[in-house]
Symmetry: C2
Subunit: 267 residues, 2 copies
C-alpha cells in the first residue's frame, strides 16, 4: 500500500485541438481529453487517477491552456512529467507544463478567473488548414453595435439567459457543477472584440462561466451585428433570466480556453 | 441526351487538409479527395464525372493548390462554380478557383512542372493546432550537409532509388501512371532547404515525381542531417537505382503539394 502522506499534487497546463474529442469529461466509449490524460498518466506512473480540469470544455472546443490537477504517489521528478506524458499522448493534445502544486490545489475550485477567446474568420474562403479553429462567417457585421453589446455584460450579472437551457452534467462547458440550486451570477471583468487580420476575436474574462455561456454570448452578439436586434437588448436579455431571450449558440470550432488564473501561490 | 459538343472542360485549383482522407484517388468505401469532389460536382451539376488530379497525393499528404480537370455539359456560369462547390464540400477541402479550360486540357498530362514543400517543426513542443501540418522533429541536424545533399538531386536523374519499392497503383503519389515500363527519369529544377521561424522547409520543383519520391528524398536528407551517412552519398544512391539504397520515408503530415504549372495557355 502506498502511504497517503507521500501523495503529491500536480498542476498541468494543457493545449488541445478539441475537434476530435467528445469534450473534456470522461464518458464511456467516447474519446475525451480527461480520459486520454488519465490513460497517459497511468502509462507513465502506473497510477490510475481522474485529473480535474478547470472547467469542462464541450465537444469541439479547443484549449490553448487548460489547467488540470491530480494527486499521485509516484515520485516523478518535476522536470520529467510533461515530456513523459507528451511521449505517450496523442498529437492533438500536449502538456505545456507540469509542476508540483500546494496540497489541496484543485484546478476548478482554486481558479479565480478564466479567459476564453472566440475566433471568427471573415474572409470569403476559409482554407482547410484554418477551418478547424474558427467559425467562418463572412457576412457584413455592424462592429460598433457588437462592441456596445459586448460591453453590456461587464460586471456582475445573473447569466441564466446565456446558459444552456438543458444542462446535461456530462456535457457542460462550465465550472458550475453544484447542481441547479447554485447561483448563475458571474462577474465579467473583460469583454471585448478585436480584429487580427481576417480574424474577428471576442475575448472574455470572468470569475466563471456557465455551460455554453461564451458561445451563447457570441451567438447573441452576432445577431446584434446582423442588425436583427439592437445592442441595448443585451441588458434586457440578462434581466429576463430565460435562455429563450438570448440568441443562438455559436459553433464550438471558434472557441478557445485561453487562460486560467489562480491565487499567486498556485500560479 | 446531352450533346457531346456542348461539353465544357474545367480547371479547378483545390486546397485540402489530407489528414482525414485516404489520399486523392477514389477507392471503394474510403474517403478520398477525388471521391468527395466527384460527389460535390454531381450535387451541383447533376453530372457524375471523375475529376482528374495533377497527381495522386497519398493518404495524409496536403495540398495548397492541387489542380483537377473534368468535362461537364451543365452550363454553369464560370464565376459560380467554385462558390457552389464550396457550399457542399466538407470543410477540409476548398475550391480556390474554377475556370473554363481549353478543350483537351488534362490536369496531369498537361502539367509541365510541380512544386512540393515538406515542413519540419524543430521546436521542442509541437502544439496540437500545428501537429497535423508538420513532421515534428527536434533532434540536432547538420544543415550544411542537408543543403549539400539536396543540391545533388538537381537536374535530370533516374529516381528509381527514391520511388516506392512496391508501387501500388491505387495509392501512388506520382504523376507516373503508365506502368512499370515507363522511365523513372525526372528533371528537378529546384531543391532547397530554408528556415522560417521554427519550421525547416524543403521545397522541390520538377517535371514530375514518382510515388513517395519527395518523402523518400526528405527521409534520406534527414539521415544525412543526422550524420548517419555523408552528403555525397546522394549521387551514389541515384546511380544504384534501388530503393534499398536510399533512406526511410518521411511522414505524410509534413508534405504539401504547393503548385502545378501549365503551358501559358492553360495557366
Amino acid at each position: 500500500m502506498l502511504d497517503e502522506r507521500q501523495r503529491q499534487t500536480w498542476k498541468l497546463a494543457l493545449a488541445y485541438d478539441g475537434t476530435d474529442f467528445s469534450g473534456w469529461q470522461v464518458q464511456p466509449g467516447l474519446r475525451t481529453v480527461q480520459g486520454e490524460l488519465s490513460e497517459a498518466i497511468a502509462r507513465v506512473t502506473g497510477e490510475r487517477v481522474l485529473p480535474q480540469g478547470s472547467g469542462r470544455t464541450d465537444a469541439g472546443v479547443h484549449a490553448e491552456a487548460q489547467v488540470a490537477s491530480f494527486e499521485i504517489a509516484a515520485p516523478v521528478p518535476e522536470e520529467n512529467l510533461a515530456m513523459a506524458l507528451n511521449r505517450t499522448l496523442p498529437k492533438d493534445m500536449r502538456v505545456l507544463s507540469a509542476a508540483h502544486a500546494a496540497e489541496g490545489f484543485h484546478a476548478r475550485h482554486s481558479a479565480v478567473s478564466k479567459t476564453y477567446e472566440y475566433r471568427i474568420f471573415r474572409g470569403a474562403l476559409c482554407l482547410p488548414f484554418m477551418a478547424r479553429y474558427v467559425f467562418a462567417y463572412a457576412r457584413p457585421l455592424d462592429m460598433d453595435a457588437m462592441k456596445t453589446a459586448s460591453a453590456a455584460v461587464m460586471g456582475e450579472h445573473d447569466f441564466t439567459s446565456f446558459a444552456a437551457s438543458d444542462p446535461d452534467a456530462s456535457q457542460r462547458d462550465a465550472d458550475d457543477d453544484d447542481g441547479p440550486t447554485r447561483s448563475a451570477v458571474r462577474e465579467i471583468t473583460h469583454s471585448e472584440w478585436s480584429e487580427r487580420g481576417e480574424l474577428l476575436c471576442y475575448r472574455v474574462s470572468g470569475s466563471g462561466f456557465l455551460h455554453r455561456m461564451v458561445r451563447n454570448l457570441v451567438g447573441t452578439f452576432l445577431t446584434v451585428g446582423r442588425r436583427k436586434r439592437p445592442a441595448d437588448d443585451v441588458a434586457r436579455i440578462l434581466l429576463e433570466r430565460r435562455r429563450g431571450a438570448a440568441g443562438p449558440t455559436a459553433p464550438a470550432s471558434g472557441l478557445f480556453l485561453i487562460n486560467v488564473s489562480y491565487e499567486e501561490a498556485n500560479d
